[in-house]
């Protein structure tokens, strides 16, 4: 197990936001995480990287990544982990690169972070190799570029190059293609898949888009308002979703193939409750079409099928 998390909760300014997340990622596996905006996906990712903003705190029974106990990690351990076995890429590659520094300086920084003591010249050679690896043509010229001279797709490739500089065992990709054109989106996803196959790293792929998850992930975990509401094998979950929220997601996806428009998720009726708001019973109650008296009780994850590891946070 490359990552295992038990009962992870996150509080924002003392108010519970993410509530008791339990999940794992196996070596070499792609875990898809899907859920609408504001349900806490990024918060969980930041907690895994030890990068939660001020005023936001995480607690858990267990949190272990790449054989490091994250609950006991000090600043030094975190830094070693981030520049080493774990890496992260973000939603908006253009703002994730430093506008004042050339690609060369930013990329070499990642290379040197992973291999201290490497000479400048071999760091440059390694940077060139990485650019080549992520499919950037004219790597030598690109090294001299500043971020504003790059396209979104190119910037995301460079972010990926920086992330793989340390040959991580786990990469967290937080909506890596949301800000990109549809064609570029497909290329970036393919690149991630190639790198994963070559290096055997595990990948947590976060997306709004259940189509993207279907295409790339092995397992999926659906989040709603700070909780996991359904998890299981991607094919099974999409073929026969158990939780009413997942059903809504899948049903709202036109065509079920190709790349549908981004606004799909808003087509589930009802408004989203703020993640920090307390709700009695099931958190999906206000939007659910299948409610009955049992929904007034808080729901826990249950086995949803006898012969698989599928789970759903609903009594049906």
């Amino acid at each position: 197990m490359i990552l295992s998390v038990k009962n992870l909760s996150i509080e924002i300014d003392g108010k519970p936001a993410v509530r008791g997340l339990t999940f794992y990622v196996a070596a070499g596996e792609v875990l898809g995480v899907v859920g609408e905006s504001g349900c806490g996906k990024s918060m969980v990712n930041m907690a895994l990287m030890g990068l939660l903003p001020d005023g936001v705190n995480a607690s858990a029974e267990q949190m272990e990544a790449c054989s490091v106990d994250l609950l006991r990690a000090g600043p030094r351990d975190w830094r070693a982990l981030r520049g080493g076995k774990m890496a992260m890429i973000f939603q908006n590659p253009m703002s994730a690169l430093n506008p004042c520094l050339t690609v060369e300086r930013q990329l070499k920084e990642s290379v040197l972070q992973a291999r201290t003591g490497m000479s400048r010249a071999s760091a440059r050679a390694e940077a060139l190799r990485l650019l080549d690896r992520v499919g950037i043509a004219h790597a030598g010229a690109r090294l001299k570029s500043y971020p504003h001279e790059l396209s979104g797709g190119m910037a995301q490739r460079i972010m990926i190059a920086m992330a793989v500089a340390s040959a991580p065992q786990l990469m967290i990709a937080d909506e890596p293609t949301t800000a990109l054109d549809v064609t570029v989106q497909a290329q970036i996803l393919q690149l991630l898949e190639e790198i994963r196959r070559d290096t055997g790293m595990a990948l947590i792929l976060v997306s709004h888009d259940i189509g993207v998850i279907e295409q790339c992930a092995h397992r999926v975990q659906v989040m709603y308002s700070g909780q996991i509401v359904e998890s299981g094998d991607v094919g099974e979950v999409i073929a026969s979703p158990c939780h009413p929220y997942t059903r809504g997601l899948v049903a709202a996806q036109p065509g079920r193939s190709g790349l549908p428009p981004k606004s799909r998720l808003t087509t589930i009726d009802g408004s989203v409750i703020p993640i920090t708001e307390e709700v009695e019973g099931c958190r999906f109650r206000l939007r659910c079409s299948r409610t009955d008296h049992r929904c007034e009780q808080p729901q826990r994850m249950r086995r949803a099928a006898a012969n698989s590891y599928r789970e759903s946070r609903c009594h049906w």
Partner: protein, 334 residues
Amino acid sequence: MATTLLGVTLLAFFLIRVAPGDPVLLLIGERGSDPEQYREMVVRLGLDNSLIVQYLQFVVSALQGDLGVSVVSQQSVIGELLARWPATIELGVSALLIACLLGVPAGVIAAVYRNSVADFLIMSVSIFGYSIPVFWWGLVLIMCFSIGLDITPVAGRIDILYDIPPVTGFMLMDTLAPQVVQEYGFSAFGSALGHLVLPALTMATIPLAVFARTTRSSMLEVLSEDYVRTARAKGLSEFRVIWRHAFRNALIPIVTVGGVLFVTTVITGAILTETIFAWPGVGRYIVNSVYARDYPVIQASILLIGIFVVLVNGLIDYLYGAINPAVGRRDSAS
């Protein structure tokens, strides 16, 4: 830039003429009661021509590098001003250096440890520094360090014991010239430095506060940017994240206020501080000339200050591009 300078010449010329006071009377004093002598003086100063003609004369000769002759001293104005300029620059630059070297790191610390005791202290001190009147503060410093503790001199640039030939006009450099060091050792330099400390501190107070506040707010903004998160996600040390990734991006507003402060400290600061500390620079010269209604000196000073401001702004535009290529490109495109 040309239009800015034209505006400056207009201002320089007309502003002083709408102010009350008659230069002729001031110059000939009591004898102004003699109308014959008064007329003679008016003609000699060229004040009998129409304002338009006077203005054109002023611009044309300014373009030729001739800013006229001081009514009071009968010396060439440009010579008098240039001789005093280094003293003013030396004081202004020292003050700004102090302000920058203390204010910027203080602002960074306040931002990084926001809402901490350090932040609170730094911001309180800076509000205090920003609100005190300069002349009062200068006097307080003199009371404490010169009169009370007797560790700094009260006035001037250097003890009268020393005879320093002006080479660059900058006392800190001239006292290090080989023949000076041969004659006095480093004591002349020490004396010059001692004379500089109090006026520079006085002048540095407001800019220091402004630097600290600007740096803090600029850093706070940058620290929440995505690329700072990226830098942390790379596993960089907090020191590197702050100084290499955040600080550089926070520099643009700091450089901007730095430029504004340079102009305001060197000019308005100079007028007050040089007067308090009897510092023989342009500021004190302007004040004396205003008392004497010395038109040529005043208009030449305003013109030179205008040129100085324009040059500083040009330098700042250049710095923007050097710090952040994206900003530089956007500016030159618009």
